[in-house]
Every structure is written in structure tokens, then in C-alpha cells.
Symmetry: C2
């Protein structure tokens, strides 16, 4: 197989013949010397290819070199030798070069100069060719594999929960509808038939699934069905929210990781969540050194120190009630005044991690009113066995809970909240047949990427972001 540049850079520069495939980042020329920096995206670094007219360059090669500018794709052949230049161990003393494709200087958008991230979003099909977005893509890959590796090592089975759901019982925010109905035809037919608007009703039995269907907002409920069969399971897939929030932290399509564990109570779930976060950040620190060094120096100073600190600091565990008491001592520091019963804001979460505990914090036992219906009620009848993992500079990175495993208690909660019980028949069944204590949590993968790269906008850590009015490419 063709050698990737990341492999070539590990080879002994012993004069061996080598072929380099990639895209030219820069071309420098003196009277007799031509230097190309060639990158193939397999790693952050480029490799230097040198041509020396004193050594001799063929007419064909000279002709090819003329076609080369930033962005051109090439195959260069020559000897891998020690490099006299600083910052690189090896370079290629080129013998020939072939240009696959030019990148015309007058039209190629990615010339050497720095581009704004806003501009690069407009050319998302090319931005992975830049230092920043190449590094984001490699870290996204490493973090994905870190996720799978962790769960495989801990006895979890990966489950593909459905993306299209007809069960409308997740109840978390606005959903996207999935349909094959032809709206245009439906309207025209109704107009032609002069249907009474009061009696008109869309006939979803004619839709593809024979009823209304939506894009999932979470795989959790379906995942619980597998947890009560395979004990430890996880899902890692796309989830969707049709919320019109134009922020740097929300996407309409984002990737979620959700483990679900039978026989785990909240304490064991906190242990697992802590191990998981530490595993992910350690993986980043160990496997993404070069990319992290770039982010640390160019995107967020101190990033490596920040991640290292999280990895080496035990996570503090406090209850929501304790957390609110701590926040109330310092009310004036906050835009949003904290009180028992309020949802913690990012400013509160950051105060707890950065100012009070100087490290990650797990907050437990939230008021039932601000948490989901399926969370297990505490004996006080006011709080639920929920936990949020908060990290410095980001705030919440994980949210989870022990699930209500008692049929009567879950049914009561469904009724209290006015949910349609008939939608939950199968979810309730799990409490009817061999019910078990079980728990789980969710981690937003794109938020994790923001954290480990130090990037400021979530639209810049996913290849093709989707948000309100944004579905290009």
C-alpha cells in the first residue's frame, strides 16, 4: 500500500527510495533549489521535498514544477535523507515529480494567508485541507475510536438504536418530521376539492410509515430495552433537535454517546462517568500530541495544561442542594441569581469547577421538576437520582441518572406529567418483566470535541454542520 506521510516520517532517513503522495502546502524557490512542503492529512506535519538544479532536474520535472502552486496534488519520488533544516528529521531528495492536478492561483480559495473560520464554513468542502480543520478531523477520529475502545474494554455491547422513530415518547425538545407525503399535492388536492378547513386532517396513514414519524432526539429509551437483555450497552450515533437556537454550542444534528448499565446504581454510574472522561482526555493527550500542540499554541493557550489537570484531579461529588448553597454565598457574581429549584447555568457550573473546587465536579440529586420523567425518585419525593459531570471552562459534559425501575412509580410520574401512557407500553414492560436497577448517561460528542480542541464554535468541530437555515453540502 502507498505510504502515508505519517509513516514516512517514522522511517529511518537512510537514503531509501520513497514516493510521497499529497497536496503542496508551500513552494519556495531560490536560484538552484526548490522546496515543497507536501501534506496528505494523515498527520499534522508536512514533509519537505527538495529539488536541486546543481544535482540536475530533468526537463519533464522542470515542466511539472512550473505547474505547482499551493493546493496542487503531486506524487514525488526520491531518496529519504536526513534534513539539514531545523524542525524536521527527514526530507526527500527528489528525483521526479508528477502533478495530478493544479490548483490555479487566481481561483483556489485556500492560499497561504489565514482565513476566518466564518469564511471557511462557506467552503466546508475544502476546509479540511487547512491546518486547523485537518487537526479537528484527526482528533474527531481519535476521540471516536477512544469511545469504542473504552466501552469494548468494559464489557459493553454497541447497539444501533433507531434514527427514525414513530414512538414520540422522548419528549425532549422539538423534533424533525420524517415524511414522504407530497405537501404540494396535498394542498392542491384540498383546494381543488374545496375541503372544509375545519374538518380537514392530514391522513398520515398514507405516509411512508403509516403514521407520523420523527428523527430521534435520544436513543436512551430504546437502549434500555437492550440493557435489560445484555446488561451493558451503549449507543453512539446522530441525534436531532429542531431548535431554532443560533448559538456557538448548539447543532440541529449532533452525535451522542449513551451508555446504559443494568445493575448499576448512581454511585457506580458516577465512577464509570469519571473513568470515561479521564480515558477520553488521556487518549487525546497521548494520541494527538501534534494536533494538540497546534491547538494549544494557536487556538487556546493552556489547553494541554487544562486537560492534564482534569485527568489528574479526582472529581468532587456534591449534591445539587450543596451546590446551590455554595452558589448562594456568592449571588452577586452571577447574571442569573441561583436558587433551589433553578436549572444550573453555565456560569454557575463554571464557578463550581473553576473557582470553588478547581477541578471537575459531579452534581447529584437534582429537583425532579428540572429533570426527565424517567429518573429514579429519591426517598424525599423532591429530588431524583440524577448526576451531571461538570468540567472547568465548559460546564456540563455529561448528564445521567439512575432510571425509575419501579412500575408503579414510573406510571405515576407519567400520569403526573400528563404524558400519553399508551406511547410507553414497551418502556413500562421493562418494569413489568424482570425489572432491574439500571442507570445511564449521555455525552454530547461535539461538545467533547469543543473541549479537547479549544475551538470556540461547535460548527467548526463537525464536518458539515446543520442548524436553522444551514444544510449546505
Amino acid at each position: 500500500m502507498i505510504n502515508l506521510i505519517k509513516e514516512i516520517l517514522t522511517f529511518e532517513p537512510d537514503g531509501r527510495e520513497i514516493a510521497v503522495y499529497g497536496w503542496v502546502r508551500t513552494k519556495r524557490e531560490t536560484k538552484n533549489l526548490i522546496f515543497l512542503q507536501v501534506n496528505d492529512g494523515s498527520c499534522f506535519g508536512s514533509i519537505q521535498i527538495t529539488f536541486d538544479r546543481e544535482r540536475g532536474i530533468s526537463a519533464e520535472t522542470e515542466a511539472e514544477l512550473k505547474r505547482i502552486s499551493t493546493g496542487a496534488s503531486v506524487c514525488a519520488k526520491g531518496k529519504l535523507v536526513p534534513s539539514p533544516a531545523s524542525g524536521q528529521a527527514a526530507e526527500v531528495q527528489a528525483e521526479s515529480i508528477l502533478v495530478f492536478g493544479e490548483a490555479p492561483v487566481d481561483s483556489y480559495p485556500l492560499q497561504k494567508k489565514n482565513h476566518s473560520f466564518e469564511f471557511l464554513r462557506e467552503i466546508a468542502h475544502l476546509r479540511a485541507r487547512t491546518n486547523t480543520f485537518g487537526a479537528v478531523a484527526r482528533m474527531r477520529n481519535q476521540m471516536s475510536f477512544a469511545v469504542h475502545s473504552f466501552f469494548q474494554e468494559h464489557g459493553f455491547q454497541y447497539v444501533h438504536t433507531p434514527i427514525i422513530t414513530g414512538s414520540d415518547c422522548e419528549g425532549a425538545g422539538e423534533m424533525f418530521h420524517v415524511t414522504t407525503l407530497n405537501i404540494q399535492e396535498i394542498v392542491q388536492k384540498a383546494l381543488k376539492e374545496k375541503t372544509n378547513p375545519e374538518t380537514f386532517a392530514v391522513d398520515y396513514t398514507q405516509d411512508f410509515f403509516g403514521k407520523e414519524a420523527n428523527l430521534t432526539v435520544s436513543g436512551q429509551l430504546e437502549l434500555e430495552t437492550y440493557a435489560t437483555a445484555l446488561s451493558r450497552v451503549y449507543t453512539f450515533g446522530p441525534t436531532f433537535r429542531a431548535e431554532n437556537s443560533n448559538t456557538t454550542r448548539h447543532l440541529s444534528e449532533f452525535w451522542m454517546i449513551e451508555p446504559e448499565m443494568s445493575f448499576f446504581h448512581l454511585e457506580q454510574t458516577m465512577d464509570l462517568a469519571e473513568q470515561f472522561v479521564v480515558h477520553l482526555l488521556k487518549w487525546a493527550l497521548e494520541k494527538c500530541r501534534e494536533d494538540l500542540a497546534f491547538f494549544d499554541s494557536r487556538i487556546k493557550n493552556g489547553l494541554i495544561d487544562m486537560l492534564t489537570k482534569v485527568v489528574t484531579t479526582p472529581f468532587t461529588r456534591i449534591t445539587y442542594t450543596e451546590a446551590v448553597a455554595l452558589l448562594e454565598k456568592n449571588k452577586s457574581a452571577f447574571e442569573f441569581t441561583p436558587y433551589w429549584g433553578c436549572d444550573l447555568q453555565t456560569e454557575h457550573e463554571r464557578y463550581l469547577t473553576e473557582t470553588v473546587f478547581k477541578g471537575p465536579v459531579i452534581v447529584t440529586d437534582y429537583p425532579k421538576e428540572i429533570k426527565a420523567f424517567y429518573m429514579k425518585m429519591n426517598e424525599d419525593g423532591k429530588t431524583v437520582r440524577a448526576m451531571d459531570v461538570l468540567v472547568p471552562y465548559l460546564g456540563e459534559i455529561i448528564g445521567g441518572s439512575e432510571r425509575e425501575d419501579n412500575y408503579a412509580a414510573l406510571e405515576k410520574r407519567i400520569n403526573e406529567l400528563g404524558l400519553a401512557k399508551e406511547n410507553y407500553w414497551w418502556y413500562l414492560d421493562l418494569r413489568k418483566y424482570g425489572t432491574v436497577p439500571h442507570s445511564g448517561f449521555g455525552l454530547g460528542f461535539d461538545r467533547l470535541l469543543l473541549y479537547v480542541t479549544g475551538m470556540g464554535n461547535i460548527r467548526d468541530v463537525i464536518p458539515f454542520p446543520r442548524a436553522a437555515k444551514l444544510a449546505d453540502f
Copy 2:
């Protein structure tokens, strides 16, 4: 952490104290002895828990035992000892047992007897508790990790291509629309305003994305943008087809694996595809022995031999033209008469692999008319650099090609087929700026699961299948 049964079964049965968490599969009782088979889904096997009244059983334990029937969830504690029974090395000499939840005999649907797969599809939330569907789930997990492991080892970066696409340029079959438009309100408003049906047009600028959006049918085109930045990339995610085909081999929501490699020509792509298939089947044979043994004995006799043969037989490579010539020699054997220009049917593919070559076959250079617009044209102007990997008993398992990397040739093909060129501006850009020879292929993950498990219906290898009129759970 709690020990999974698959771990416990590897422990030395040295009398150590152990706690077993799981669900009771069977309960047998003699005068003084009670035997429970407990399974937690971590592996195919159950562990035997024995209670001996002569050894003494407490009143609490006796009371708990009375509550136990198939499906009850328990925690049993006792000593791990060598088992006198055949077929198991160890069992637990129980000291106590706690029932988390009963499974009432009169209502629990999964009693010991065999259920039809049709019936189990109706209770998909419980079916993973059966031998068959537990084994399918574990193999699905192992095959997923095998996919990631293969690509990570070969220098590929995992890319999350978008699920919602506004670019409508994949052109492969019927798509699902994604919308937040309220059809009911749109119709009622038009009726009230007595809009002229001839001039009515749905205003998609009011839709969430400001235009029509669909669920992806393939991540390939977007993936190519990353291949031309990172060299080797792959995607593994859900894809969608709104085709109303009620067969045992089609789903509306299915998982696809698509690698894309810059600088790879068709030959290198065939090498990679062959390595990939062999890697996957070897992984199954090595890591899923127990589950495979079950499928071999209960679902498809000879399964293990069949998979072993594929792994050990070099893949034959022939052109489409050669394949058709071979098929034409035996026309009478087929329902669908083969001719040059026809799409190969499963019967043709199986004849080639099972009868002619007795092993996997890669067919290349198909007529351009039956392949996609983006495939690289051969010099004959009639065929394209496509390849399909065929395996015995299944037929096509992989489809791929070298991509057209020449701007003018691709533009010509888009025009010939009457595609809307403006939709492809970014895809064409890849041929304008630093274009490279590149290739890729797709493997339907659920089809792979059918193959490695020997299951007969694709709805039985995905947790919650989606098809026409089917979106339950």
C-alpha cells in the same frame, strides 16, 4: 465493577465468593435441589446456580425462590465451584438470592418454548433476551468494532458525514423529507384563503433549513471532500431509502460503511476490499465462536465452514464482460436471461461464486449505463471502473469504483444524464483544485450481519427495523 457472567466463566472455580447478576432462563427443582440457569447477555452461555436444601436454605431465600420463574431478574451470591454437570466447567453453590423483579408466568411473553421470528418482531423490546437475538446483538457489536479496528489500523480517519442533506445530488432512489413545516396548518391556511390551486407553491423558505432537506442515501460525495484532504477516510453511519420494497433484504434505515481513498486506483481498491472482507469474517470466526456455533447448529447448517472457506480462498477477479460470457453459456439455468448490458441478478452472482469459481469473485468494469454518474470512465467509453465483490450464498456484499477525477469528463457525464450541475458545484470543485485519482466502496452493514449470522430476514439483524408501515418503538 460488577462481574459479568462472561468474566465469571473464565475464573478458576476455586470456591471464591461471587455475585451473579442476570435474568433467570430456566428453573428446575427436585426435592432438595434447585437449579437456575442465569444469563446476563454478556455471552451466549448461562451460569448454573444451585441451591441445596440439605446444605440449608434460609427462609428468606426460600421465599425469594418462590418468586422466580423464567425472566425474573436476580442477584445470586455464593461460591464458584467446579460443576458436576456436563457442558459447564463451573457453577455457583448459592448462599442467597435476591429477586429484583418477577416475570409473571401468565403474562411474560418469553417462556421457554420457541417463538417464531415474526412474533418476536412484535416484541422487539424483549427479543434481545432470547438466545437468537442476544447472539445477533453481540455479533453486531463485534462486527462494528471489527470495522473500526480495520480502518484505524490502515491509516483511515473516521468522518461523520451529514445525515440531513440539503444538497439533493446523491440521486440514488427515493429520499425521506425532513421538515418542521406543519402540513395541517398549511392546508387549512390555503383553504381559508381560497388560494388558487394552480398558483399555490409550498414556501420552503419557511422550513427549518430554509429549503427542502432530505435524509442521506449515502455519505460518499461528502466523504470525497475529506478524502481529498486526509487521504484515507471512512464513514459508518445510518443511511435511508424511502423505497416501498417489502423484502427480506431491504430496510428503510440501514447502516453503511464507506471508505474513500485518495491515490487509490481500482486495483488497490480491490485489494483493500478483499482484505476488509477477510478481516471481518476472520474477526467473526475468532471473537464470536460461541454465538457462531449456535447459528451454525440452529439457524444455518454449515455457516462456519462457509465463512472459513471465504477467508481461505483468494478472490477471483473477472470483468463484467467475462462474467456475462460465462453466464450466457448457461442461460437456461436462470430465471432472468443474462445479456451484455443487464444488471447482474442475485441468481447470476450466486452462480458465479457457487458454481463457477466456488469462492468469492470481484467483477469489474461494468457498463456505464447501469452504474452511477461519478464512476471513472474506461478508455472504451462504454464501461466504468466499477467493482462488485460477490460472495457465495449472498451475492453482492461490496460495490465500489474509482471516481471520475477529471473535471471535464465529470461535467460531461452530469450533462449527459441531465443532472442539475448547480447542485454539484462543490463536488466539481474537488476536480478543479488539486484533483487526485481516488476510489471507494460501500458495504451494507446489515447485509454483512445477515451473512455472518445466517439469519434469513434483514429485519432480524437490526434492533428496531424500519420499513414501509413499520416504525414501532
